[in-house]
Symmetry: C2
Subunit: 288 residues, 2 copies
């Protein structure tokens, strides 16, 4: 396909940034890819893997880039935006790959000034079980959803460029407003992680924990797999999506309370109704 960007800067060349680089390179959609980041060895590794052409020595490297992708943890967005903003060209399109959007948009609005109209908030929905450039794969985004959350002020041409970039990786691109994005992901991603952390920590804290874990079987294994995720990353996501997540936690605790009440009253009908609705919805879900 034709080249989308002659010069692109990726801040944070891990699984997501590295996989995007690999996918765009494979499709011949990008000229030069420059990697910027905190850890030199990660960038060296990314270069050795052929994911990036050049390692940026400073934030000034964003000068002359047609696209800048922010692919580091959401908690670093504010600082990185502050460092690169002074060096960005007037026409540069900037986007991110953060799991939460309202907080990133706030940071971008605060740091980018007039350049904020060319900031296209994005979230590729791709598994993050592994990390780092070594885990990068050109097909990571194939048939995955990428959500873009442009605002009323966002330059439509910038949105088209970022959408074209993700489509070049084989992803499906959808658009929704940031608040809705954050509500949806609080429910289907952030809450499940917190619920799994809570269950495992509740058990792990007990005197008999070892016995308990010894008898845990496949249901426990699947239910708690995401509890093995990075505590730092999920601390940051939880704080970044605090409002929506507090709402989800409260709705979830209410539903658990409803089940506890039915169980306490030995209300078999109510229990079967709740379990039945959930079982049907889960079996009808086409996510497996």
């Amino acid at each position: 396909m034709s080249t989308l960007f002659n010069r692109m800067v990726i801040v944070g060349v891990g699984l997501i940034g590295g996989s995007l680089a690999a996918a765009l390179r494979q499709r011949g959609a990008v000229g030069q890819i420059v990697g910027l980041g905190r850890r030199r060895e990660t960038l060296e590794q990314a270069r050795q893997l052929g994911l990036i052409d050049e390692i940026a020595e400073s934030p000034e490297a964003v000068a002359g880039a047609e696209l800048v992708l922010l692919a580091m943890p959401v908690a670093q967005m504010q600082d990185v935006l502050a460092q690169i903003a002074p060096h960005m060209d007037a026409g540069t399109v900037i986007t991110d790959a953060g799991s939460t959007k309202s907080d990133v948009i706030e940071a971008a609005r605060a740091q980018l000034g007039t350049g904020f109209v060319r900031f296209v908030p994005g979230h590729p929905i791709a598994g993050a079980e592994q990390n780092g450039p070594a885990a990068a794969r050109a097909d990571l985004f194939a048939n995955r959803n990428v959500v873009l959350c442009p605002g009323a002020e966002t330059d439509p041409q910038a949105v088209r460029k970022v959408a074209a970039m993700w489509e070049a990786t084989g992803a499906r691109v959808a658009q929704m407003d940031a608040a809705r994005h954050d509500r949806i992901f609080a429910a289907v991603s952030h809450l499940p992680h917190l619920a799994a952390f809570a269950l495992v920590d509740d058990l792990a804290g007990r005197a008999e924990a070892e016995d308990y874990f010894r008898y845990a079987a496949s249901g426990f294994r699947d239910f708690t797999r995401i509890a093995g995720s990075s505590p730092e990353m999920w601390r940051d996501i939880a704080l970044a999506n605090r409002e929506a997540l507090l709402g989800e936690l409260s709705a979830y605790m209410n539903k658990l309370g409803e089940i506890a009440t039915a169980l306490d009253k030995q209300d078999a009908t109510a229990l079967e109704e709740i379990f039945g609705r959930a079982s049907k919805a889960r079996r009808d879900w086409h996510g497996d």
Copy 2:
């Protein structure tokens, strides 16, 4: 190996009862296997599959059996025990495969009279994703845990016979008292199922449910897989293990409340501590 039982009656020839039959037959550990159950077609299927030799026409078929296994849903234990008790020989050993133990023991104590000393409560920890005799496999119990919960009054020789039967299938046999069994499984099996049902029902009940499910990814898939389980079976297990499960639900809701409070206060340290303990415990667990 030598024959453990010349005549064995299995009540409920589904995944568990059928797999035990297949395993014992493969090892030459049993003579005649008789199937008893509510649904004729299931028994016919079990016989066609070679799992059982004979279909019992009535509960009287337990007469002359050296071992009776109760492998139907826990909610039917009371009725089945009442039907077979009058026909059991004085020496017959009886055991079960129910997911809960205290309630089954109560039912057996109430129905078996003097025969109660030869009732050995059991629980094979084997996945029940599928059901029915067609899903039966001779290796279902290989390297799986089987928990036996004999009481002070239980005949040690009956316990030895039931333990030998499960060991013949390749299972690891452990013993613990019924209350402890029910506490452990409330925590590692029953609570996770309720927590998954609760999460999916909470989402499924919303106007935007379809959108929510569309963006659910691998974390959601694993976390909620057990929410596809049988509503009737889990209604019965929840009610059968009500006391222990109510305690687990309350402990779980407290832990979720702890997380909600930390999130509300934006206490990053507390969140990272909880997530970190859970993540380490989950990664150290050898269940995968």
